[in-house]
């Protein structure tokens, strides 16, 4: 297996992008990554596109074929990778394996989703199609609903409180105000969403016990990276970031079949595999992007990947240990909560954000000083298909 490095990274601002088609967004993000890699007028061997729902949302299929044509990357190999909200992570994995194996040298990986052109009612249904058709979807369950049931159990078992969840939403929305790519650029005030009598209006229950500001927004957006073998990137002047480890694991489709529904086994396994491959441990990580589609997930994942013991993640968030300057800064991009969650884009966007961190390119309000190692977790389904990546800055 060859060492694989990220030589280009780019994304477009997430949010509501009525003027752009899905292919527009994928093309804009791809061009930014190609330019960043210095390949603006060059070809690549293959393109992997992470996308969950263009067939449902845009009535458009084969978007990887559409993208290579649009970018004049013909005759590059092109595949669309669908794996629910982990589509982006799965696309990166496919690109990584193709380069590591020696089959391809230069690969573009892009993730994107256009979700805002349908109503919230339709978008909620679209996301719910990843649940079990007869045992779950039939009843009207939604992903926030799954998270609500999970939160109730997690609160009961581990003592997580609404104040712990609140610490995550306040931190991530604050970081979103500092990220020019973020969908939500509005800081939250604890008084307005929790303490005051108006909080019940400002921050209503969405999927009990989760409230509106515990949930990520529905977003449009795209992000891209260019990867190649380390030996072919030595002349690059920008700092290189190596994909030092990855892991992927699955769990039962129906939530009720898990022996302990609060145990996110696929997160634990994916992270363990990634750490083992990278020969690192959780305490070696300087910055992480976790899949906080719901605030509870940032807390639960921070425990399951090994940053904190079970039951300590909520307290750690409330104590500021996951903020910039804390023990392990998490989601300095704003996370899914504020950067947004165009489902197919997320796994790639998390990696782009860690690349910015490891290249030390961010303003000091978001940059972890001298960050060398980063972790991402891309959570598909309700934890039934999870990818983790460990990224390392290459000292040249």
């Amino acid at each position: 297996m060859r060492d694989v490095v990220i030589i280009g990274a780019g994304m477009i601002p997430f949010g509501r992008r009525d003027e752009d088609t899905l292919t527009d967004m994928l093309a804009y993000a791809s061009l930014k990554a190609l330019d960043d890699a210095g390949l603006g007028d060059k070809s690549v061997d293959a393109v992997y596109v992470g996308n969950m729902g263009s067939g449902i949302l845009q009535h458009q299929s084969s978007i990887a074929s559409s993208l290579v044509d649009r970018l004049s990357l013909l005759p590059a190999a092109a595949d669309t990778v669908e794996n629910g909200p982990a589509s982006g992570g799965s696309a990166v994995k496919n690109g990584l394996l193709a380069v590591a194996s020696g089959y391809y040298d230069t690969v573009l990986v892009v993730g994107g989703e256009k979700m805002r052109e349908v109503t919230g009612w339709r978008a909620t249904d679209f996301v719910a199609t990843m649940t079990h058709p007869e045992a779950e979807y039939l009843y009207g369950i939604t992903l926030p609903g799954m998270a609500g049931m999970f939160t109730r159990l997690y609160m009961e078992k581990y003592g997580v409180t609404r104040e712990h969840l609140l610490a995550v939403s306040i931190k991530n929305q604050e970081m979103g105000t500092l990220n020019p790519y973020a969908h939500v650029e509005m800081a939250l005030d604890r008084e307005g969403i929790f303490d005051s009598p108006h909080a019940v209006v400002n921050n209503p229950v969405s999927a009990d016990p989760l409230h509106l500001y515990d949930l990520c927004p529905v977003s449009d957006g795209a992000a891209a990276i260019v990867i190649c073998p380390l030996e072919k990137a030595k002349k690059m002047t920008k700092p290189l970031v190596r994909i030092a480890g990855f892991g992927q694991a699955t769990d039962t489709h129906a939530l009720q079949e898990r022996d302990d529904p609060t145990d996110l086994k696929a997160v634990t396994l994916a992270a363990q595999q990634a750490f083992e491959m990278a020969k690192l441990k959780p305490s070696d990580i300087h910055v992480a992007e976790l899949h906080d589609a719901f605030t509870i997930l940032e807390i639960a994942e921070s425990e399951h990947v090994g940053f904190f013991k079970k039951g300590e993640g909520g307290k750690a968030a409330a104590a500021g240990k996951t903020r910039l300057g804390g023990q392990i800064p998490i989601n300095l991009s704003g996370g899914l909560k504020a950067r947004g969650h165009p489902v197919g884009a997320t796994g790639v966007a998390q990696i782009v954000d860690i690349v910015f961190q490891l290249r030390h390119e961010l303003p000091k309000t978001r940059q972890v000083k001298n960050a060398q190692n980063g972790l991402t977790v891309n959570f598909g389904g309700f934890g039934n298909n999870v990818l983790a990546f460990v990224l390392r800055r290459v000292e040249q």
């Binding site: 009843y139 009207g140 926030p144 609903g145 999970f150 969405s206 489709h253 009720q256």
Partner: protein, 119 residues
């Protein structure tokens, strides 16, 4: 009106006894393929629940209460909960299962599990 039979089937592995719902082609624990069909029996215990206020397409109502419950013979399943308020519910309470319309698709009622609090 006569109660409709609860039309879900769980599957008990003939080798290791693990109970599955929904169906798997191989046992989650021992990978064997022979199962005994098991119908859910008795009442149920509520394991977790939520009230959803942002509903998916196909549900034209203000909110929906959904939970997972475990029948007396250990079959676990999701269902809609017949309660006016989530405040009536608590984890571990007894609920009575029934088989009723849970949504309308293409103008037709679709049946599924409902649970009604018994306490």
């Amino acid at each position: 009106m006569k109660q409709k039979e609860i039309a879900i089937t769980a599957y008990k592995c003939k080798k290791c006894g693990k109970l599955h719902y929904p169906f798997h082609d191989r046992c989650l624990a021992c990978k064997q393929r022979e199962f005994e069909k098991v119908k859910p029996e008795g009442n149920a215990k509520l394991l977790t629940y939520t009230a959803i206020f942002n509903l998916p397409w196909g549900f034209d109502q203000r909110y929906l209460i959904i939970g997972v419950a475990e029948f007396d013979n250990n079959v676990k399943a999701m269902g809609q909960i017949k309660a006016d308020s989530i405040d009536q519910l608590k984890v571990g309470m007894k609920v009575k299962p029934s088989w009723e319309p849970v949504r309308v698709q293409y103008g037709e009622d679709v049946y599924g599990l409902k649970f009604e609090p018994m306490e």
